[in-house]
Symmetry: C2
DNA sequence: TTACATCGTTAGTGCCACTAACGCAACAGG
DNA sequence: CCTGTTGCGTTAGTGGCACTAACGATGTAA
């Protein structure tokens, strides 16, 4: 796992090495890679987790609703639900009240799967923030939250 | 610019909304998008900037050297140098001392271009960190630097 | 009825990280 | 002097993700 590629950190120009946007991208890349690897080992992807969490939080929902709640595009949600359905973690049924919709329901298998993923994701946060102390992690999260709030408002 | 997609922030489960790895990815995504848009408007890409900064910092270099200094893959550096060459920002010449290598040299046009990009990138940092105070920006950068250092050591 | 919006779905774009393999050139050791 | 190894530039290709466009079917409102 990890990168096989040899990059010379020392030789990287100071300007580049200390650029916030660049550090941000790199740390995020590392986090994404780690998440991808671990979720992959559990036969899952980021979006599976997001969808399952949304289902647990608010109960059965249409694909479009899941899309809104997770930020996954409606068009990509199709594949996510397909994959979760193949693995028996959700069921897809037409909504009798609105025949445009599918109702997605989490199965028991899905609930168990989600619990495993919860632990996996929690461990991930821990490894991601490993070099920081408790208060520093709070700090970091709070700053991220503010940046996110600022940049995601319409 | 920005996203046309409608995501319901309110409906996103707490667990998901406050997950550090997720916030990190999202903020990074926003930063990347912003960088892509602005650099695109200046007929450039992230990698162009990285390569030019490396050339300014340490003078002419082979493509492999630029690759190591910027973190851009050797295979992708080909296109970067192609594009910079097309635009007249660098020159590519065979290295007489080692005929495997190309020597990449920045032109005057490249230097002027880089100065424009410097300003553009500086403005970007400012917009990215807009909601944070001066000390908070320092904090945030320092935390990122520590995370990066931790995760990029062999 | 007409117009419009929403839903699931398919297809496709573009960017980026990353791998594999190629022919060529340099180099180190026996 | 050969020989295996390493480094170089380059090509091609993979897979994931963000994102757009358009479709037919269905629901809602003017």
């Amino acid at each position: 796992m990890g990168v096989t590629y040899e990059m010379d950190e020392q030789a990287t120009p100071e300007l580049l090495r200390t650029l916030p946007s660049r550090m941000l991208s790199q740390v995020a890349m590392y986090a994404d890679r780690l998440a991808g690897e671990r979720l992959g080992a559990a036969d899952a992807r980021k979006w599976h987790y997001a969808a399952l969490v949304a289902l647990r939080a608010s109960g059965p929902a249409s694909q479009a609703e899941l899309s809104r709640r997770t930020g996954v595009y409606r068009s990509d949600m199709v594949a996510v639900v397909n994959e979760l359905e193949e693995r028996g973690h959700v069921e897809r049924a037409p909504d009798p009240a609105d025949r445009r919709r599918n109702v997605i329901t989490m199965t028991d298998s899905g609930r168990r799967h989600l619990e495993r993923l919860d632990e996996l994701i929690a461990g991930l946060q821990d490894d991601l923030l490993a070099p920081l102390t408790g208060p520093e992690r709070e700090q970091f999260s709070a700053l991220l939250a503010r940046l996110l709030a600022h940049h995601s408002r319409a």
